[in-house]
């Protein structure tokens, strides 16, 4: 068994888990954070994307023990004080979902994409950057629109704050 400790959505957690426990299973089954989804379970679909120390990773492709000592952010940690994160708000506004299963991974990936492109995004870049996230409903058009809108909104906020 592995003794692990990490910060998840700002909360310090410690646990004893089987060494082979995947990070996604630790989040879902031990912490009850079921917003992070298991889609393909073969490291291709991106439904399980979370942020590990600020970077988007696939939580189904990593042991919980590998993440010990890190900061993990999941979809549940995005909204602050009851207010949706700008990317969540944009997905709602632009209806960036159909069945919704891929949405948590899409949103976590989108936040990462926007963080890495502080000077803004174009459609081509967004589509390339979404390579690791699959929407089985093929609802990409509105997802792309939502990410572009969120990017603009977040740049606006950053400019206001500056």
């Amino acid at each position: 068994m592995a003794e692990i400790s990490m910060t998840v959505n700002g909360r310090k957690v410690t646990a004893t888990v089987e060494d082979r426990t995947l990070l996604v299973h630790f989040l879902r089954e031990h912490l009850g954070l079921t917003g992070t989804h298991v889609g393909c379970d073969t490291s291709q679909c991106g439904a399980c994307v979370v942020h590990l120390d600020g970077k988007a990773v696939k939580s189904c492709t990593m042991l919980a023990a590998q993440a010990s000592g890190s900061e993990v952010l999941t979809i549940e940690g995005l909204a602050q004080d009851g207010e949706l994160h700008p990317v969540q708000a944009a997905f709602k506004e632009y209806h960036g979902l159909q069945c919704g299963f891929c949405t948590p991974g899409m949103i976590m990936a989108a936040v990462d994409i926007i963080n890495r492109h502080p000077n803004g995004l174009d459609e081509k870049t967004v589509r390339e950057e979404l390579e690791g996230n699959i929407c089985r409903c093929t609802g990409y058009h509105n997802i792309v629109k939502a990410i572009l809108a969120a990017s603009e909104a977040m740049r606006g906020r950053a400019a206001e704050a500056a």
């Binding site: 592995a2 089987e18 060494d19 082979r20 995947l22 379970d41 073969t42 490291s43 291709q44 991106g46 994307v49 590990l52 970077k55 988007a56 990773v57 696939k58 189904c60 492709t61 990593m62 042991l63 023990a65 590998q66 010990s68 990936a109 990462d112 994409i113 950057e129 390579e131 690791g132 996230n133």
Partner: protein, 266 residues
């Protein structure tokens, strides 16, 4: 996944010792190949020795035109390194097209080379650049490193610590990605150096990455895509599978080589 025991090493020496003390242990770097393989129960190491927290394996450094990339450097870090892009943009381009963004945040150059997947991108760059693979035991020339499918010159307890190379005059990489996996169906890295042109092909060879001498000779005469007009490569030794026949790959090698030269000259 079968049971395994996780260990975290803080130095290369400690990692080597942890492996020696294990039953049938394996090193894990970014884990983007090994963890999925373990999930499919195609690998079942008794112990996993995590190299991701070893600081001596990280970072990219320069000495004039000499580049040294620590084995623990992620694909995302190589792709976004501005200084590296200044002297060898081709390797940044290559790293930026491995897998997808999430994979690139975890996967490392050392892990990719040690695994030597016949369709991985990095082996083509390392072979074409005539790079040196540094390990916990020695330094190995790229020409001596790759030894067939998923096989390298590495010994069981040998850890890649860095890759070094002299920045080429020009270099380019072009790959035709498998539309599902993004692995190279065929990828070609060309490097123009003072002593000639080297062309390395990944994704197409039955024995993994290889140099395409016919293309090297043609490009040494004239480093221009047109120098490759009319060249057709033999099918012997090329992969044939559900994704592409050997004949198709032979054709793709020349097409990708032309695009790589175009990129190098751009």
């Amino acid at each position: 996944m079968y049971q395994t025991t996780y260990h975290r090493a803080s130095s290369v020496a400690e990692a080597v010792k942890l492996l020696a003390d294990s039953g049938d242990g394996k090193f894990v770097a970014g884990g983007q190949t090994l963890i999925p393989t373990m999930k499919q129960r195609l690998a079942a190491p008794t112990d996993l020795i995590d190299l991701r927290h070893i600081s001596e394996l990280k970072g990219i450094s320069f000495s004039g035109n000499e580049v040294r990339i620590g084995a623990g450097t992620t694909h995302a870090e190589v792709a976004s390194n501005a200084a590296l892009a200044g002297i060898c943009p081709a390797i940044c381009h290559l790293a930026g097209h491995i897998g997808d963004p999430h994979v690139r945040h975890m996967g490392t150059i050392g892990g990719s080379l040690a695994n030597n997947d016949p369709a991985a991108d990095y082996p083509a760059a390392v072979l074409a650049l005539g790079a040196t693979v540094h390990t916990s035991k020695r330094s190995i020339a790229a020409d001596d490193f790759f030894a067939g499918l998923f096989t390298t010159a590495l010994e069981e307890d040998e850890i890649i610590t860095a890759v070094s190379f002299t920045a080429p005059e020009k270099a380019g990489y072009a790959k035709f990605p498998n539309p599902a996996s993004r692995y190279a169906l065929t990828g070609v890295f060309v490097a123009k150096r003072p002593d000639g042109v080297r062309v390395a092909v990944t994704g197409a060879g039955e024995d993994g990455v290889f140099r395409a001498e016919a293309l090297e000779q043609a490009l040494s005469t004239s480093f221009d895509p047109s120098a490759l007009n009319g060249i057709s490569l033999p099918y012997d030794g090329l992969l044939s599978d559900i994704h592409a026949s050997a004949e198709y790959r032979a054709h793709l090698i020349v097409v990708m080589a032309k695009r790589a030269v175009e990129a190098a000259n751009a």
